[in-house]
Amino acid sequence: MGRYVIRRLLQVIPVLLGATFLIFALQFALPGDPIRALGGDRGLSPTVYATLVERYNLSDPLHVQYGKYLLNLLRGDFGESFRGRDVSRIMADAFPVTLRLTAVAFTAEAVIGILAGVLAGLRRGSFLDNLVLVSTTAVIAIPVFVLGLVAQLVIGVELGWLPVAGIRDGWVSYLLPGIVLGALSLAYVARLTRTSLAENLRADYVRTATAKGLPRRRVVGRHALRNSLIPVVTFLGFDIGTLMAGAIITEGIFNIPGVGGQLFLAIRQQEGFVVVGIATALVLVYVLANLLVDLLYAVLDPRIRYD
């Protein structure tokens, strides 16, 4: 197991380096003037322009630039807005908010998704099964931002059940955006659980477990479920990427001042450096989260540990 962990850690390093290099290259190595581009429609006075060149080391040769860029990342410097606010400060303030939102989304997606999937998988072809199938298909087909706006409209405004903007109402304000955020993933989790369980119920080892005289509840709940949940847990882990992208949209629509919301705002305000800074941070989080999931996977499925 230890060897597996080390191997995975070593594999992550080139990915981190490569990803940061790619992002760096996309910003500063493309033809054209990165500062003007990242400034959007803003008029930049020569003094401001010069300061920016200095700040981001743009007069250095490319490889030196990248080196300093990397060093900055390691020190937690993700750039700053045109008004001088550190991107890392912006993110630090916004992070707890996003964390709460993601927690709501994740809980909804895991609990409701797995439950729905198990019920559907146990009773293939039943009304419940078809209901789950149809509703998940609908949710997957509808884009997140459409779903979010519709939810805001119907549940928030028309029915008035839940708050639709900001976080003034405490935990309740996270509910609707959280569910919207988790909806797409919930649909995938439900379908995956359903298929996985149905497949495993037909597996040879389930037949053996039944032949051992074990009660049905144990055969399904212990033997089949354990194996069925492996791909689901893997998916949940790798889903962090979807949640992050969705958070940008969801926090934007529901006016939640989380990391995604800040990114949404930065795009609207044409704060190019902030946009890129937050996006970079999110990519790093994504890579590390995937690493954690890989390691978790090894705990769940003993066959992987000895690869």
Binding site: T208, K212, G213, H223, I230
Partner: protein, 343 residues
């Protein structure tokens, strides 16, 4: 000392019944889009204590399905038991509820399957899976169960049992995995052990070891053993009696010695003749021409008649029952006397 499952079994079954296991006229069909696949058609056989019955046949002959039906392992739908009884100590297993069957499976009748790698749960250690038998059926504590598991693993010939108890199935070789399955099946001293092609997925040398193990265990415990296989050589070594299946029915049965020396059914005759023997060096291998019928559309009359060398008009219309032949044998051929006489 009576164990909890002994009491449950005792309530369900009758120790003074005639046979340990008696299957009467069992039929199983699978309903698929194109119609019904008649996997098992009116199969009957018996098993006594201490006896080894081999059920032999090609793939698709219905041998596995018949024992799975008896254990209640057929997925329904699409499989349905359409007739017959499976009497274990006098009680019809087919009439028991799943709850009641749970008391029979394990302590009464146990099964060993073909491919141990897929038949064992990959995410639990072998020790955990064997221990389950003790913990669920006998309510043993974890440490007691562990002790019994190590003893069992020793008994079936797994070296370094104590160290390997927490290993996972994929860490064992094919032969060792099969021993694990046998250990798991034997945990509660069942009266009947059904081994469904236990050696098919193994190397030849390992096959012999596993068969020896089964043989030895059977003699130690006096349990009845049903051996399902398509390997005629294995049958000759280990079995007392044999039932040959074709297209879902038994076409010949009897003591192995008798059947092998002089088959009473053309199919069995063809099987015996097709076995390569040393003295045939240089000659052609005899095969049975044609192929088994589709179980969706079994031809009328005797199912073997399209391929039979003894075929007459009667065979095309009249489905032969299992005729009684001298010496406790049976043959589902109208002209079995002729077949016997020709040898």
């Amino acid at each position: 000392m009576a164990r909890p499952h002994d009491l449950a079994l005792g309530e369900l079954t009758d120790p003074t019944a005639d046979h340990l296991l008696e299957v009467v006229d069992l039929s199983v069909e699978f309903r698929v889009r194109h119609g019904a696949v008649h996997a098992v058609n009116g199969v009957s056989y018996t098993l006594e204590r201490g006896e080894t019955l081999a059920i032999v046949g090609e793939s698709g002959s219905g041998k596995s399905v018949s024992v799975q039906a008896l254990m209640g392992l057929i997925d329904s739908p699409p499989g349905f038991v359409t007739g017959g009884r499976a009497l274990y100590r006098g009680t019809d297993l087919l009439s028991l509820s799943d709850r009641e069957l749970q008391h029979v499976r394990g302590p009464g009748i146990a099964m060993v399957f073909q491919d141990a790698l897929s038949a064992l749960n990959p995410v639990f250690s072998v020790g955990w899976q064997i221990a389950e038998m003790f913990r669920v059926h006998e309510g043993l504590t974890r440490s007691d169960a562990r002790r019994r598991v190590i003893e069992l693993m020793d008994r079936v010939g797994i070296p370094s049992a104590r160290e390997r108890v927490d290993d996972y199935p994929h860490q064992f070789s094919g032969g060792m995995r099969q021993r694990v399955m046998i250990a798991m099946a034997l945990a509660l001293d069942p009266e009947v052990l059904i081994a469904d092609e236990p050696t098919t997925a193994l190397d030849v040398t390992v096959q012999a070891q596993i068969m020896d193990l089964l043989d030895e265990l059977q003699r130690e415990t006096g349990m009845g053993l049903i051996l399902i296989t398509h390997d005629l050589g294995v049958v000759a070594d280990v079995a007392d009696r044999v039932a040959v299946m074709y297209a879902g029915r038994i076409v010949e049965s009897g003591a192995v010695v008798d059947v092998y020396a002089a088959p009473a059914h053309p199919y069995t005759l063809g099987l015996m003749r097709s076995l390569p023997r040393l003295r045939h060096k240089g000659g052609r291998l005899e095969a049975i021409s044609g192929a088994p019928p589709s179980l969706l559309r079994i031809p009328p009359g005797c199912p073997f008649h399209p391929r039979c060398g003894y075929v007459r008009a009667r065979c095309r219309d009249d489905d032969p029952p299992l005729y009684e032949v001298a010496g406790g044998r049976g043959s589902a051929c109208h002209y079995h006397d002729e077949v016997l006489g020709d040898q």
